[in-house]
Amino acid sequence: GSTNAPSSGGVTTISLKVMVGGLNKQIYLPNMLAQRLGYFKDQHLDVTLIDEGSGQASEEEVVAGNVDAGSGAYVHPMVLNTQGKKIETICQFGIAPGEAEVVDASLSNITSAKDLKGKNLGVTDLGSGTHVLTQAILGSAGVDPTSAKYVAVGAGDTFIAAIQQKKIAAGMTTFPTISRLVNSGKGKILVSLLTPADTRAALGGDYPFIGVFAKNDWVNSNKDAAQRLVNAYVKTLKYMHSHTAAQIADQMPTDYYAGDKSSYVSDLQSQLAIFGTDCKMPSGGPETVQKIQQQFVSSFKGKSANLSETYTNELADKANA
């Protein structure tokens, strides 16, 4: 819940809890950056960022009302909508997934998504976003997604170990796992979903990924707080596009690039393009996501969400005005 306390300036400071599905992951970077830049405080918000190991749990906590807002993939509000749980994205950071299908570099015979047919493919977890995206790139390349075998390998060192041990031929993952593999020559990027352009090429449209969402009820009854939150995020996104990766990295906690700042900066450099500038949902994005869900996720087959309930650009519009 949110508590209000009068602050010196006459504007009440609002306390908010925001749960983030992996604070230190670069695709979630605007959360911590806004905090470090003091943009929340500027809006008289006292935001607690709560780190969360797995993505889906942050949506659940939003639904359960244990936190005010969550940061995660857009697809979750959509899925929840079909189950009667109404949460909406109020700020969309990422207009591309920021993931890539990385292939074992020693497998020279795999040169495109078509060659993944019948292979073992790594995903962080069955049913997760990486699973859906992998099926989508196969489907878009004209390969039957069910012909491949999906292996839950997590992320980080277990993913790298899976490639090394030839347990998987390729897998969907993010930075810094991507750069670890590429820099060491163990892997190379087969299909990139790292920029909007690449994503459009691979999936046939924008794929809105990480954003900030809250319950529709909460947004409606806490308009002011929601607006201030979006204001802070819009300002953060603008900051990101007006500063270099190195400058942004300087703002982040040192542990985030423990010992290896240069690779952190270069990872960030190659990722900055996935971030929007205005918190708005890219037009056509929700439809692309829904189409992919309907095609590839068996439990979503035959279902459709009321897309207009799953996001709002209203707050972003005001913040940008």
Binding site: Q83, L126, V151, A152, Q165, K167, V297, S299
Partner: protein
């Protein structure tokens, strides 16, 4: 009793018969009690969910869970036929259970017998016990590969400590009179261990096995976080990621059922091994 051809007794009703009837009534009471508990829990849950006191999104409801189980049973799961998932998880679990309890017993007995060794290694083992199994699971996945070995290892680690500490204590609880007697009778270290220490510590070890099988299942499921393509754990994770709460609970129900079958086997083993005890029949009387 009279079938034994003994003379009829002058007075008093047939107490043996009475006690047989009592035993039968007790059996019925137990079954009735179990059913009652199930009905209260499941019924309350179902009604609560229907009355929206319980949020079905988070807690599902028994009828949905049953439907999911039925679907898995008849149509198979998303990961393949149900029996395959159960089989995979069982292999990992039994492997982990066996490896973990064998090592647990060996270490427990050896350290329990050897004061110096236990003093030296004790702190390391106790410290290691505090290391989160989820992290260990990831390390195993990295070092042992992502196949069944890593899952067995994760399950084994969970089992090991529980069995170890019990076996260790069981060994130290052995009646000193009996050890003295065996020594005097000429038992060497090996005999002492196999014929005195282990039988005497057996109820300790078996008690730990009761917890252990459940823990081995848990370990196998944790192990399936990494590098799995099938298994009950994988089924649970998949359901969870799809916000299919009924699937999550159905998976847990499968685990519970598996554990109960294993429990029955362990109990049978226990009854065989500890035949030298006074029978439990009179237990209720005192």
């Amino acid at each position: 009793m009279s079938a034994l051809g003994e003379q009829a007794v002058r007075t008093g009703p047939d107490l043996a018969g009475r006690r047989r009837r009592e035993a039968r009534r007790r059996q019925l009471n137990v079954i009735g009690g179990r059913v009652l508990v199930a009905v209260v829990i499941l019924g309350g849950w179902e009604l609560g969910a229907r009355a929206t006191v319980i949020d079905r999104f988070f807690w599902s409801q028994p009828s949905d869970i049953a439907a999911t189980l039925w679907r898995w049973f008849t149509e198979g799961t998303d990961l393949g036929p149900l029996w395959l998932q159960v089989l995979v998880t069982m292999e990992e679990t039994v492997g982990g259970f066996v490896v973990g309890s064998v090592f647990g017993v060996i270490f427990g007995v050896v350290l329990g017998r050897n004061r110096l060794l236990s003093d030296v290694l004790g702190p390391y083992i106790k410290g290691a016990n505090a290391i989160p199994r989820v992290v260990v699971g990831a390390l195993f996945a990295v070092s042992l590969g992502l196949d069944i070995k890593a899952k067995i290892a994760t399950a084994a680690v969970l089992v090991f400590f529980v069995v170890f500490f019990n076996a260790f204590q069981g060994v130290r609880e052995v009646d000193r009179n009996l050890i003295a007697n065996a020594r005097i009778l000429g038992a060497d270290d090996r005999r002492l261990t196999t014929e005195i220490i282990i039988p005497s510590a057996l109820s300790w070890i078996v008690a730990s096995l009761h917890t252990s099988f459940g823990l081995a299942l848990v370990g196998a499921v944790v192990g399936e976080l990494f590098g799995a393509t099938e298994g009950i754990g994988e089924l649970i994770y998949l359901s969870k990621n799809l916000f299919d709460t009924a699937g999550v609970f159905a998976g847990m129900a499968l685990l519970a059922a598996t554990a109960l079958v294993a429990e029955a086997l362990i109990t049978a083993l226990e009854d065989r091994l500890i035949r030298w005890r006074p029978p439990v029949a009179t237990e209720t009387r005192i």
